[in-house]
């Protein structure tokens, strides 16, 4: 019987990693190739930027995004709830910053992999009726078109029991934000300064 050397072990682990990489890429290709049963004929419900927040995925309507920037310095204000860490200055303009992870009560215990996925953080600056708003998020995962056929059944604003600002959730669990409902919160005081 021949003895296994460190070099053999390293080759084995490289081969295993390569196999895993190819398997994941193949699985993704199969998923992407799938055509919705009801076809792509479903109407476009939203075009969103998908962002990672504490291991969850949220969709921010693309037409409302002014820009995505690295997380700037945030100045805290007294007597604000935890999900409102303060205000930031973006190109000379004061913007209320909303911490989505805290707003949605997402558990902070993350695996190392998920934590790495979320670094570095970004601030999504969106346009709301009262002015710009900054959404504190993890990583920008890309953009996607959400069709009506992709929306999870049984979820809509009218059936949502709480006041959480979510327009709808997709079948693959991406919550698309309702920015108007979010901006309607009276605690977003920065525009009265």
């Amino acid at each position: 019987m021949t003895k296994k050397t460190d070099s053999d072990d390293s080759n084995d682990s490289d081969a295993a990693r390569e196999q895993k990489r190819e398997r994941v890429l193949r699985d993704r290709a199969e998923r992407l190739a799938r055509v919705e049963r009801r076809g792509e004929a479903g109407e476009v419900a939203a075009q969103v930027a998908v962002i990672a927040v504490g291991g969850e995925r949220f969709g921010v309507p693309a037409e409302r995004i002014r820009e995505l920037v690295d997380v700037p310095a945030i100045a805290g204000l007294p007597d604000l709830p935890g999900w409102l860490p303060g205000i930031a200055q973006i190109r000379g303009e004061l913007v209320s910053v909303v911490d989505l992870a805290r707003l949605f009560g997402i558990v902070e215990e993350k695996s190392a992999e998920k934590a790495a996925d979320e670094a570095p953080g970004c601030l999504v600056v969106v346009e709301c009726a009262a002015g710009p708003l900054g959404l504190l998020a993890g990583r920008n995962l890309g953009f996607r078109v959400v069709r009506s056929t992709e929306i999870a059944e049984g979820f809509s604003q009218s059936t949502s029991r709480d006041e959480r600002p979510v327009r709808f959730v997709t079948r693959d669990l991406c919550a698309v934000l309702d920015l108007d409902r979010l901006a309607a919160d009276e605690r977003l005081v920065v525009h009265q300064v």
């Binding site: 890429l25 998923r31 992407l32 055509v35 820009e67 690295d70 970004c122 995962l141 890309g142 996607r144």
Partner: protein, 185 residues
């Protein structure tokens, strides 16, 4: 057999290489003229990372971004054409921006993203390493790229941001100059 000095041969090769480079540059310029020009007014740019370089695409052309997936290789395609992606039943060619712009061949990594762009009714995927920001810039703040740069034909311009230079890529020129007739059509 007569022996030509090696140094003389090297010198001749260098001269011919220089002439070849000049010719290639002229071909690229000729192919790039008449293609997409820099739009005017306010532009929305999608900033991406390609290897260590920051590039930007016009957001108007971007449809969606999907994670890197296995692609079907195209026979006899140049190294910057990674293959074809089946996206919900539509076949989309995927170009490797790093291979095209930086002349570096690389295999798709799990962390890579494919930015799906729409161009005159056709869709094309661009493999990038990361998507950063959406930026709003004025066209006037974008400078013309230096004409003699080897990659200039694919650039719409160079934009200075707070954190460094950003090269604005013309998807149309990238496709038109991809050396694949069916892509450039």
């Amino acid at each position: 057999m007569s022996h030509v000095p090696t140094a003389a041969l090297r010198c001749e090769i260098e001269q011919m290489q220089h002439q070849l480079y000049e010719l290639q540059l002229r071909v690229r310029r000729a192919a790039g003229s008449g293609l997409e020009a820099l739009p005017t007014g306010e532009l929305l740019l999608l900033e991406c990372r390609v290897e260590e370089q920051r590039i930007a695409l016009l957001l108007d052309h971007v449809e969606e971004a999907v994670p890197a997936a296995a692609l079907t290789p195209l026979p006899e395609s140049p190294p910057w054409v990674l293959g074809m992606l089946n996206l919900r039943g539509t076949t989309i060619p995927v170009l490797d921006v790093a291979a095209r712009l930086l002349r570096r061949e690389r295999q798709l990594e799990l962390s890579d993203l494919i930015v799906v762009c729409s161009l005159h009714g056709r869709r094309i995927g661009l493999a990038v390493q990361e998507i950063h920001h959406v930026l709003r810039v004025l066209a006037g703040s974008i400078s013309e790229p230096a004409p003699d740069l080897p990659h200039a034909p694919y650039l719409l311009g160079v934009c200075s941001t707070g954190t460094g230079l950003l090269t604005l890529i013309s998807i149309e020129r990238l496709v038109a100059l991809s050396d694949i007739p069916e892509l450039g059509a």
